[in-house]
Symmetry: C2
């Protein structure tokens, strides 16, 4: 395919994507396929000779789409929101077209520099303490990681390296291995990644909610900052639940009032498509020294070498999509978007509260409503199964204090009040049938 054909096919793909998103409501939110469905539809071997683009695009509808869970359908209320905005798609296209690998400054200066500036922009938007910003001559700064798991691993590595060096100052005879065996890290029992345990074998799990964890870890001052920060960006709708990612910051620094690093995922709720997990550090040397000790590098304040901030060597030009999103939405557009989602969650909560067969299982603060039928876990498991089997909306469950709970997460960029009303009507209709059947069987 040459550039001329790419002009044609690229434009067809733009229309295909626009059609997909414009008409996504018409697609069933959760697919009907069974495990292994796709293998039967695809040849066993790659073709020896080139195939035509038309045939591939036809196969997208025939083979791929029947197996897609449509995360951006306004009837998708499962898992968590994941970003998908048009400006981010455009930025990502450009990133692919430039196709540079920005591991060092010289390998593509714009890639390193735009990322550093975009992390400053975002850090200011969420009111991070100025020590976390790079500025012209700061000691801190931010980086885009692929995911929060990677950010956590990197933060843990930096904390471990620093702890080892500190301990070795007073205990020259201790080996690195001996010190690692004696390090203890604290984390919440609510984290979804086990990676900290790779680096520090002795983990202590703090049970209970995030706030308790942060108190236990002595990180409350960090937490307060996180809270204030999101408040400033998002209005007054935010509290500690959204600050969950800052747990990562506190690991390795228990009993100290301030975090050394901060991480959250714009690729969830901030309209920047996956992957874009932003991480800031107060002292970037803590991080880069964990990866490489290079005296020449240490002397350079100007050249960020982002490969020393992360696990991979290679890195895409991901800051372009942040730049496109921040400029095309503006801070006010981002605030409006988050506020709309929070309003819709409250609208759903109010519907639940008006039906005394149901109960709300956790405070509704942001975009998530945890609810259930008053009654047994089994009843709620059947309710969820019936809702998902009906394929009108899609939900996933969680367990809260031993109770099986349905999670209703406001996810899609295009979700409106009408979808919330439809979802609730769907849930209550299915619940009514279920309760009636159950009553009949017990009568």
């Amino acid at each position: 395919m040459d550039a001329t054909e790419f002009r044609k096919r690229g434009k067809e793909m733009v229309d295909y994507i626009a059609d997909y998103i414009e008409k996504i409501e018409e697609r069933q939110v959760y697919p009907d396929v069974e495990p292994g469905y796709l293998r039967a539809l695809i040849p066993e071997f790659a073709p020896e000779t080139p195939e035509r683009f038309e045939d591939i695009l036809k196969d997208v509808e025939r083979i791929i789409m029947p197996g897609v869970t449509h995360w951006h359908s306004p009837y998708f209320f499962a898992y968590f929101p994941t970003a998908n905005s048009f400006p981010a798609l455009l930025g990502d296209m450009l990133s692919g077209g430039i196709g540079c690998i920005g591991f060092s400054w010289a390998s593509s200066p714009a890639c390193t520099e735009l990322e550093t500036v975009m992390l400053d922009w975002l850090g200011k938007m969420i009111n991070l303490p100025p020590q976390f910003l790079a500025g012209k001559d700061g000691e801190g700064g931010g980086v885009i990681q692929g995911t929060a798991s990677e950010a956590t691993l990197v933060a843990m590595l930096a904390a471990r390296t620093k702890a080892i060096r500190h301990i070795q100052l007073d205990n020259e005879n201790l080996t690195q291995g001996e010190i690692i065996g004696r390090l203890v890290a604290y984390t919440s029992d609510q984290v979804s990644t086990l990676f900290p345990a790779l680096l520090v074998p002795r983990m202590r799990w703090i049970f209970g909610n995030v706030l308790n964890f942060l108190k236990a870890a002595g990180a409350i001052k960090l937490f307060q900052r996180g809270e204030r920060a999101t408040n400033d960006l998002l209005g007054n709708d935010i509290n500690h639940l959204e600050c969950f990612p800052i747990c990562h910051c506190a690991i390795g620094k228990p009993y100290r009032g301030y975090a050394d690093s901060f991480n959250f995922n714009p690729h969830k709720w901030l309209l920047v498509n996956f992957d874009c997990s932003t991480m800031w550090v107060k002292k970037r040397l803590d991080l880069t020294c964990a990866f490489k000790i290079d005296p020449v590098y240490l002397k350079s304040h100007l050249c960020f070498i982002l490969q020393h901030w992360q696990i991979p060597l290679g890195r895409r030009f991901r800051s372009l999509k942040m730049w496109f999103v921040f400029r095309m939405y503006g801070v006010s557009g981002l605030q409006e978007y988050i506020r709309k989602h929070v309003r819709l969650a409250h609208e759903f909560k109010d519907l639940v509260l008006q039906d005394d067969r149901f109960e709300i299982c956790a405070d509704v603060i942001l975009g998530l409503v945890c609810f259930r039928l008053k009654g047994s876990n089994e009843l709620n498991e059947v309710l969820l199964k019936n809702i998902n089997d009906a394929r009108k909306i899609h939900l996933v469950p969680c367990h809260l204090r031993g109770k099986f709970v349905l999670r209703f997460a406001i996810c899609a960029r295009t979700v409106e009040s009408s979808h919330i009303q439809f979802a609730w009507k769907n849930i209550t209709t299915i619940a009514s049938v279920l309760l009636k059947t159950q009553k009949q069987s017990t009568d």
Copy 2:
């Protein structure tokens, strides 16, 4: 931005990318900017209100492009090739448009299933032993990791988990920490990642070339397989240099004739844009058990849960770009592409050999030529600096057995014989001036 505007802007972006790639020769391959150039061109804060797309696209030329190192210029011979093909761009656009997060089968069945089948396609293309394939009921299978660093880390984690469990069978009293302190891993001194050392503190570095390392690690049978595999795909041009990534496979399994895992990067030389690092395992339970022990999951052969194969939880629909590339090039198209690059490297090597002021410093087998002026390291450092300062072509150096060496890597998809001839003329002209100046200063 709504779908209507996205149709317009998306098509403009397609044209912008096509223009960029069609006319990339006209751009200076390496930029003139100094560290910190970009901050001065961008506001200190994100805009409060939305900006226009036209202004952003203008700023791409004004702010971004002056700082881009053009990896896809046919005058770029630095680092290594990185994939950038039109079919991959189209596949990636679609991946962004669908925007699903495929961590589990249910979170988007097509995402998991296409990836598994594409890894089987590619595994067959490179003639991997059938144990590495998933098939309908195999115990192996493949996964897309972001980079080889992540694949290495995951393979090391699986190997470590397996070793710990094995040792604990006979030594119930040993803790995990005690066992980790006694594990030893072997790796080549030529690897570019330090991550194995995170998991096994006692590393042994094998000095010398990859073949020696593989022999030392007892992995020679794996290596032979890798060699055969790439031969089959690529003709007879390939030998062990390209099999470097398989070092990863042997780590954790010294003195055993067969590798448990295999990893290489289609995002380098196989026209699938970054990120796409493919990794296969013979027993996927070795891998998934290292991440999660879930008896229900272990019973399921059908549902791959790819989050248990990797560090991140989230994952994009990256197999789409493999599917597009394999189908639009066909196996024959991929072979032709690799063979062209290898031919061009030999063309450059022959030019070097015809000039007795120069020497070739390593066998030329694939797409890389290591060469230098006969003479001191200082002389060659100045030569490289003068070449890069002239900005006509871009090269980076390496050190081989104490010698400062210039690396000439065939990189761009569009590079042709004329660019090789131009590059050599450029190098020899600069060398002649340098040698003349040097002679004058010593006369």
